[in-house]
Point group: C3
Chain length 352, copies 3
Amino acid sequence: MFLKNAWYVGAWDTEIGRQNLLRRTLLNEPVVFYRQEDGTPVALEDKCAHRHAPLSEGKLVGDMIQCPYHGLEYNSDGDCVRVPGQSNVPPGCRVRSYPVVERNHWIWLWMGDPALADPDDIEDFHWMDDPGWRAKGELMHLKADYKLLVENLLDLSHLSYIHATTLGTSAVAETPMSVDRSDSHVTVTRWVMDSTPPPFFEKAGGFAPDEHVDRWQHITWTPPAFVRLDVGAAKAGTGAKEGDRSQGITMRNLNAITPETDKTTHYFWAQAHDFRLDEPWITDLLVANIHEAFLEDLEIIGLQQINIDSGTTQPRIDINHDGGGLQAIRTLEAMIDAENDPGAGQTAQAAE
Amino acid sequence: MFLKNAWYVGAWDTEIGRQNLLRRTLLNEPVVFYRQEDGTPVALEDKCAHRHAPLSEGKLVGDMIQCPYHGLEYNSDGDCVRVPGQSNVPPGCRVRSYPVVERNHWIWLWMGDPALADPDDIEDFHWMDDPGWRAKGELMHLKADYKLLVENLLDLSHLSYIHATTLGTSAVAETPMSVDRSDSHVTVTRWVMDSTPPPFFEKAGGFAPDEHVDRWQHITWTPPAFVRLDVGAAKAGTGAKEGDRSQGITMRNLNAITPETDKTTHYFWAQAHDFRLDEPWITDLLVANIHEAFLEDLEIIGLQQINIDSGTTQPRIDINHDGGGLQAIRTLEAMIDAENDPGAGQTAQAAE
Amino acid sequence: MFLKNAWYVGAWDTEIGRQNLLRRTLLNEPVVFYRQEDGTPVALEDKCAHRHAPLSEGKLVGDMIQCPYHGLEYNSDGDCVRVPGQSNVPPGCRVRSYPVVERNHWIWLWMGDPALADPDDIEDFHWMDDPGWRAKGELMHLKADYKLLVENLLDLSHLSYIHATTLGTSAVAETPMSVDRSDSHVTVTRWVMDSTPPPFFEKAGGFAPDEHVDRWQHITWTPPAFVRLDVGAAKAGTGAKEGDRSQGITMRNLNAITPETDKTTHYFWAQAHDFRLDEPWITDLLVANIHEAFLEDLEIIGLQQINIDSGTTQPRIDINHDGGGLQAIRTLEAMIDAENDPGAGQTAQAAE
């Protein structure tokens, strides 16, 4: 079960247009994306009301999308406005239209009750196109439950193992984290003090070989599956932990996770930085290193899913580092329960 | 659920012989086809009664088929007649034998109660080997429920969309059809008057460039899934609609649709024509054009099936052009219901 | 359902070590094999207790196996002994450890209650490393229920059909077998007297061209799925049946069958011989011929499984040659029933 009344990222802005109609399965539902003649993005159920052919195989006629099979045409509200061979449109002939907003280079859509869709509720990803930052990213595909990826990002102790040769150093896993939780977010904070940075930090930050740094990871989860990381490092002992980051580099790792099906996931992410903005190779260096590390994650999480699905699986044993992930998943599942049974949800909250 | 007490096409005559034993799944049942020494076709359950090995991997011993695993031999009635290492055949050692008739280049078999199999009930496809006609065809494979293909053929308004660049012109979808129904067939008729023909009609019919034609489509469905089309075109205004086809060309598009499984289908078809019989390139031209168009159909219908099976699927909305398809599917489903519960079927008919 | 309280072969001794951790699914459970620093083999559940990642993707740290995801370490008893970032190990943090014995070049493991595991119960395969014999074998994979392979080996009449051009001669299937059964084994015996041997028998045994032999097959099944064959041939009429094998050759075909899943199987086998021990090409000749024949078996049994799973499958018809297989499968199923419901098992035995 998914949280329906929520904004999700459905596509990168560059993925949709007027030529290739984009079909993408989101929360088990097939969706077609296109742009109207004025550029406004549209997201419709990709299933003609007549005989259920995929509209994404059809073509655009002005702002209408025409079914490839028998030529029915739909407007951006999902209403059928033309049926070949007859002058009237049958009552109820429509497909679902999803509220859509284009923001921060992503196409956001609302998968639940359209009456509840408020663009003000879209998560803040201003680093994607803030002039004070440079950002770049991509879409990856995960063969696993999206919640496994949320947990992955909320416990970076895995850097010491999965990413031992890329992002990690053994010091990360040995450093405890602190967890802060509210109704609407979970934040995990870890400071790895006076230790060696990973190689690409050294290169991007201009640290001397073997120079020690103070490294921070502030990870914020918001529902259903957004994880924003404030990460960076400064020369050891120059006061970064007290707020002076002038001797270091600051980045944002920005993750928007959208379920495709129960056990597959669309993974939208970008890396932003606020230093050396006139050196594009820095952005490319960061993205290339994160890309390589994320491939390592997706492989392990895919195997984790296969393992969960095979043989007998015992309940999970939790360790200290799981604090953030447990809080996030518990919060998310309570929201999903409340959405599916509003009455019961309130009682449960009162009883807590 | 399928209609069992019916003749289906199981193979082309050229597909079966004495060397390669043909295994083919029909209505979810594996069947093996071969010919006896005198050429008579045989269709048996492709599953040895002993340990269920496929007989089609074995070989012929005279008119017997020998199991590849332990050598049991069956005659054309499906009775085991020899068990190696013992002199008696155990009681009940037999496989199912299907009534078979070779007619009009197709191998027909009866999938239900053999006592009800009457060769006189085989559908008329005499155009396949009538000296007044030339015909040619093939077997295609569809990844979808066979009923979706029946519907496809009963509403040719899709020619204007799927086959916009091959068989179709936009005029087709805009022209209404008339539907005629009896207990045993549905006929859909459409006349597209005074319009441009598709390119291969022009070539085969010798029409002048840009010459207008009167084009007809008489489509007859008979259960379970045979669709015969009387199609053609004559110079506009030369009286074709009134019966004078002398200024035009007449063809038969002949379709025998056999379910393979619940969601896959064997599609046997041929195209026949009664003009320019001494010019084989005409037949080849017609078949090549229909082949290309049918590939377009199979692709869309395959996607239609995927879409029906994914996400939430609302009830279908019917339009005017669906009249023929709705009547056919309703008739077929009533026949299947009656076959599975004869008593209930009669009551339902009485109550209608 | 499988017999759990039993020793199974999980791997060849050469398959496991300290570099590539071997993941193998056995009886539907993922297992990881490795060796401790002193060479002792270990078999653990391949699923970290924490977040269920496969340990086989991790690495060895001394005698511990380290999870690839968050670095938890387990000892050979399956107990977690280290959790990065904390000083205590949470209670219950362990994976299943399987009793393991390395014997006769195979790694044996016990899949049921460890308290019942007695190495003395391991089946005798001493021919694998007895100085009086030479043996060689391999691991093959079958896409079918392991019981179908047990049946295959207990009725060699299939040699006349599946292996008509390799191991078989038509005389085999025509010769009756005798069956001997106890609570713990089934033995099938067949003597094919005064007939031509298959080509590789001729070569290995040094028989003259067209010389006739007396050929024996003593096949012993023990539960759950071990089949040992004492096979060979001697010059016809030289008294082999009475016990004098001096004019012939004797081999052991040794089969250890381990279910992978309900419908896939690991097939460990070897061929041993006690003659011409200083001529390694003899061993290679035997293994190459058996390998080719077993490929033929696996193909037919795979198709048999597909057939059983498709369409309507009637109950099996038994023939005389099935005696051994029927006794073995009946014995095995009674053992599985008794294991799953010990009380009911006793009642059933009393009532028999």
